[in-house]
């Protein structure tokens, strides 16, 4: 089975036309005064999905989360959860819980009282509360910290208390606002996998807001790229990376080289793009773009090969000069300046310790790539 990004997925309700949507944003608009934070946005999230809202700060992703939690009401449109319209339901009556970016642990309560807080609001009997709290403490491995106050915990421990508190009520949906933002890099990577395990074990629907694309790519089943209050693309991480729907998405996620050009009809599924200055790019991914249409050809750096001689039989090979080299250990990034002045970024995995005939600054070099390596963007 051939697949984008070569990951096989068994869980893919978004491909099933009969799957029942769990969370639905229906033409939702949210305005703060003159500022439109969310603009006529529609989005569908399925049960048990790990869904990420990815965007720069101020793009409206947090507003989406806060509307789902009930802290903000949409100016127009509606939000459905499991078929129920959430309009007018205050946050304390929604079967949705949130893990806050600041964790928002109650400073005057112990860890166990923090976790028990939500259960007490439901009037759960005391023995059951105690049992559930103990279970949650076990889940996040904080059993011996039950009697501590939040300020007596490290950042990672606080994060886990916040997590335990927000899942203690077994909400239909768990909302996570930059859940790993306050952790250092190493802890963040560990915690990403812990979060994924937790989501699998509890079988909950997670909606996470993040500005960190790596985090979103690692954890989420699907990612919604948000910009200026609008959805740019909703897709799996592999699709977002390998088949971005627009120039914005291609540029926002990962590094990319872009060539502006016009389609010139080619032969047998391969289109030619005239990128000016005598550069012609042949690609299999032009789709149904009409001849003469202005398009952008986007290609990821790791899909470009750099060599000192023109590779034999290459469909696409362009000559230039090595302009900059960054050695990063696991890979090396080359900046090659083409003869028309455009700089192409190419990265090569350093699979071998010793490379024969390595490139150096100002060497003449060829960049080459396969006809299926890039994508053609019309938006």
């Amino acid at each position: 089975m051939k697949s984008l990004g070569s990951i096989r997925r068994d869980f893919a309700p978004w491909n099933d036309p009969n799957a029942k949507p769990y969370i639905q944003f229906d033409n939702v608009t949210k305005k703060f005064g003159d500022f439109t934070a969310v603009n006529n946005l529609s989005l569908t999230i399925f049960e048990r999905e790990f869904f990420a809202l990815l965007g720069a700060s101020g793009c409206g992703k947090s507003t989406l989360l806060r509307m789902l939690a009930g802290f903000e009401e949409p100016t127009a449109g509606r939000i459905l959860l499991d078929g129920q319209d959430l309009r007018g339901i205050p946050p304390y009556r929604r079967p949705v819980n949130m893990m806050f970016q600041s964790y928002a642990l109650f400073p005057h309560m112990t860890v166990e009282n923090n976790i028990a807080f939500g259960l007490k609001q439901d009037g759960m009997p005391k023995p059951e509360i105690a049992a559930r709290v103990a279970e949650m403490l076990r889940l996040v491995k904080l059993e011996q910290f039950a009697k501590r106050k939040p300020h007596q915990l490290s950042g990672g421990q606080r994060q886990r208390v916040a997590l335990a508190r927000s899942v203690a009520k077994r909400p239909k949906v768990l909302l996570l606002d930059e859940p790993l933002g306050a952790l250092d890099k190493k802890l963040r990577e560990e915690t990403q996998f812990e979060l994924m395990d937790l989501q699998q074990n509890l079988g909950l629907t997670f909606v996470v807001v993040t500005h960190d694309q790596e985090e979103a790519m690692t954890m989420a089943d699907r990612i919604a790229i948000i910009d200026k209050g609008e959805v740019m693309q909703v897709a799996t991480p592999a699709e977002v990376y390998e088949a971005p729907g627009s120039r914005f998405v291609a540029g926002f996620v990962g590094n990319v080289n872009m060539f502006e050009g016009k389609i010139a009809r080619g032969e047998a599924g391969v289109a030619s793009i005239d990128a000016g200055n005598g550069i012609t790019i042949r690609t299999e991914n032009a789709g149904n773009a009409a001849a003469g249409a202005a398009v952008t050809f986007a290609i990821r750096p790791e899909k470009i090969k750099v060599s000192s001689t023109k590779p034999a039989g290459a469909v696409n090979a362009i000559e230039g000069e090595v302009y900059d080299i960054a050695y990063l250990g696991d890979m090396t990034v080359y900046h090659v300046r083409l003869d028309d002045g455009q700089v192409v970024r190419a990265s090569t995995m350093n699979a071998a310790r010793i490379t024969e005939d390595p490139l150096s600054w100002n060497d003449r070099a060829w960049v080459s790539f396969r006809p299926d390596a890039g994508v053609v963007l019309t938006r």
Partner: protein, 324 residues
């Protein structure tokens, strides 16, 4: 964990919606209450009294209890109220302009308050600066030491100076015994004593806002200025002082406004020879029992201070916005 996906909320949508409407109304009612209670209190005990003061300042003095005849009485209805305008009595204000005593009292009060404010700033700035540059570990202690006198009675602190400034007081004893002077200095019951009293009593009000603006300042700004070739004194005037201006303004207003209407200090330290409007008002009220005239004095004093007070309020609101 197998039953984990069981939904937590079991209330049906219909009851949920009606309940939430009720709760929402309740919340709105409570929000209203939070605003209304202090609002009404301040309207009744702070704003309306000023209107009454204004009203009484326009009435006749009478030998009775209360010692004035009311004008603009609502008991006669609207027509009576309107006809009352004809009987409005600006005599009290005319009286204030005729008697040079009042005019002089206003002018001296403003001048004394202004001079004292500058003196307090001169005394307070080095203290605040020294505190802000002190090691972080002892800063809270220094702060507490500045605040502590503020908690002790104003009256007592002013009283303490009488024993020091008297002709046979401690200051003169010290100066005479060391031979610096041969005749005791007459300080008590002069304007000098008032200046000392105001600077002393209001010093914490000046130091605290100054300290908070100086302490917030990033010291690397000074280092950057020095690095760019700016000598320390110039760095102070070009960097530190402009950045501490919000503190300077807040401190000056906190000293100036109440100092204009100060009563205890001129009364205890200034003696009978000095003239300040707060004391004049007190005497009109308690000694002469002339309520309308003292009301008129208060109205003019308020008009005099309304601009600085509004300025103060705006500075406060502005600082609050910045803290957000």
């Amino acid at each position: 964990m197998s039953n984990a996906a069981v939904p937590a909320a079991t209330t049906s949508p219909a009851t949920d919606a009606s309940k939430s409407t009720l709760v929402r109304l309740g919340a709105a009612f409570i929000a209203r209450l939070v605003i209304i209670v202090p609002y009404l209190w301040l309207l009744f005990f702070f704003l309306i009294p000023f209107i009454i003061v204004f009203k009484i300042s326009l009435s006749q003095t009478a030998i009775a209890m209360p010692p004035y005849t009311p004008v603009l009485d609502f008991r006669d209805g609207i027509s009576g109220f309107l006809s009352g305008f004809g009987a409005l009595n600006f005599d009290n204000y005319a009286w204030l302009t005729q008697d040079a005593l009042y005019f002089n009292a206003y002018v001296t009060s403003v001048v004394i308050a202004a001079i004292s404010t500058v003196l307090t700033l001169l005394v307070g700035y080095p203290i605040a600066y020294g505190m802000a540059r002190a090691p972080a570990t002892i800063r809270p202690t220094l702060l507490m030491l500045v605040i502590l006198p503020f908690w002790t009675s104003f009256l007592i602190r002013v009283y303490a100076w009488i024993g020091i400034l008297k002709p046979e007081g401690l200051l003169n004893q010290l100066l005479l015994s060391t031979g610096i002077i041969s005749q005791p200095l007459i300080i008590l019951n002069t304007y000098t004593a008032i200046f000392i009293g105001i600077v002393y009593s209001y010093l914490p009000f000046m130091v605290l806002p100054l300290y908070s603006s100086l302490e917030k300042m990033d010291y690397s700004l000074i280092e950057a200025a020095k690095d760019l070739g700016c000598p320390p004194i110039t760095a102070f005037w070009k960097i530190t002082f402009p950045l501490s201006l919000p503190g300077v303004i807040a401190g000056c207003l906190l000293v100036f406004i109440p100092a204009v209407g100060e009563f205890v200090i001129p009364d205890l330290l200034g003696g009978s020879q000095t003239l300040m409007i707060g004391k004049t008002l007190w005497n009109e009220f308690f000694a002469n029992r002339d309520w309308p005239v003292s009301s008129a004095v208060a109205v003019i004093l308020l008009l005099l201070l309304i601009v600085p007070i509004m300025f103060f309020q705006r500075a406060q609101a502005h600082a609050q916005e910045q803290d957000r």
